[in-house]
Amino acid sequence: MRIYCRLLGAHLRALLEYEADFWILAAATVLMQVVNIVFLAALFAKVPSLNGWTFWAVVMMFGAVALAEGVGSLFFEGMWRLAWQINMGELDYFLVRPYPVVLQSSSALIGINGLSNIVVGGAMIGAAIAHSEIAWSPWRVAVGVLLLISAIVIKLSINLATNSVSFWLSSPSPIFAFAVHQVGDLARFPLSIYPAALKAGLGIVLPFAFVSFFPVAYLLDEGSNRWIGLLTPLVAVYCAAVALTVFKRGLRRYESAGN
């Protein structure tokens, strides 16, 4: 943990060298989320609910995705560099150091835009909670925190697994992972609006629905199958295990560069 912060911190300093860029990135990220909120507000100004989901429920789903993405960018942006690291042989030195390769890889970059995504995403979740009528109990708070952490783990695991595919593909850019990431944006809306095939895709194949929809549905006590939200921690464990396995298997195939 301490070493991870150290590795990340190494990049933070360099990043702050260009202060103007830092603010532009931060502002741009906030702007993107503001646009999302304006969109939702404009939409719900004309309709009372979306398939039974209120404005605040959908805001909470958007917020959960933003928050998970923000954690990914701020702390694990290096995953997006894995394809490059594989192709350029950058893993060579990672492999001879006494620290997990996956963590050296994921700490190789810092996405400062993650900070504003965390703040805005957190604010969206917070506002949504304030507008909901959740009967809070210590148990519910604990479950809420657990679901949130699990949601983040799921998002990170999908990132890791899809980026690890680069061990098998020869492209130096994370094309596959990026495409999957785009698919993940679908999960910002309630899963119930989609046709069955998409529901299965987002619920089972690439379980993005567990990043936002299912945990939110459980917390707000809305929707028909709210108990599924309680599975989120299990899905998180499963996703993390799969992602790490894919990474490990990939690492065995690693061929370095220059051969």
Partner: protein
């Protein structure tokens, strides 16, 4: 014009090398199409909202997709890289106009985008059970408007990319541009849904021409007269931006020479 035709040809032939990137650029737009189709299908199932019916909204979203996929080959990244690394100095000594060259490149990538758009739109129309095509005059106006999307989008992206002369990071500029574009163009939600003042700003902004104008003409939400007016605004912005970009470019080059590259 030989030089520009050659550049366009070069991109047109070479673009297959980057086909995966082109496809990816379109994946994001495609996912938005899928999400919004699902959202509106639910919302408009029983009754129209704000005057939009479900078939209208389908057509609106398909036009949105087409507009989003046009001029999306990410040549702006290359341009941003050349500016930030100082390689742009090499472009300056070439005996061709920089802006026209970039435009020629954007045109070169167009054919692949059009092919992809046709594939997506026809398969979507088939899935959704057909698509109504507007009558003659409206169709002509729509075609003109779509044609104008190409230079308009190119110019907005180009002007945004010129910001790299002043900032180190292109990502931030690009994200901000995408955010503003998606809201004010009507790509995220028709401008009629925005609060009055914001809708008015958007309508007169250069962004409306990127999506709202062709989409509204296609679905017949605006009559022929109003449509003409919207297209005139779109054309006006193309002209203003074309020359405005030249001014900005001149200032940018001055900046470059002052900083010594």
């Amino acid at each position: 014009m030989g030089a520009y035709t050659a550049q366009a040809r070069g991109v047109a032939l070479g673009i297959l090398e980057y086909r995966v990137n082109v496809l990816l650029g379109i994946v994001a737009t495609l996912m938005q199409l899928v999400a919004l189709l699902a959202v509106w299908q639910v919302l408009l199932a029983d009754s129209p909202v704000q005057g939009f019916t479900w078939p209208q909204m389908q057509a609106y979203l398909l036009v949105t997709f087409a507009c989003g996929a046009l001029v999306s080959t990410n040549s702006d990244f290359r341009m941003a890289f050349r500016i930030q690394s100082g390689l742009v100095a090499l472009d300056l000594v070439k005996p061709v106009d920089y802006q026209r060259s970039r435009f020629a490149e954007a045109l070169g990538g167009l054919w692949l985008e059009v092919v992809l758009i046709l594939i997506v739109v026809t398969s979507a129309a088939a899935l959704l059970g057909g698509l109504t095509v507007p009558a003659g005059p409206a169709l002509a106006l729509f075609a003109i408007s779509m044609l104008l999307v190409v230079p308009l989008k190119f110019l907005i992206v180009y002007v945004g990319t010129l910001a790299c002369f002043w900032t180190q990071s292109y990502m931030g500029v690009q994200w901000a541009r995408i955010a503003v574009m998606s809201l004010l163009s009507g790509a995220l939600i028709p401008l009629a849904y925005l609060p009055g003042w914001l809708g008015t700003i958007a309508q007169w902004s250069p962004f409306a021409g990127l999506t709202s104008t062709p989409a509204l003409i296609y679905i017949g939400r605006v009559g022929f007269g109003d449509g003409m007016m919207l297209v005139a605004v779109e054309l006006g912005w193309v002209i203003v931006l074309w020359f405005g970009a030249r001014l900005l470019w001149r200032a940018a080059v001055r900046q470059l020479t002052v900083n010594g590259g």
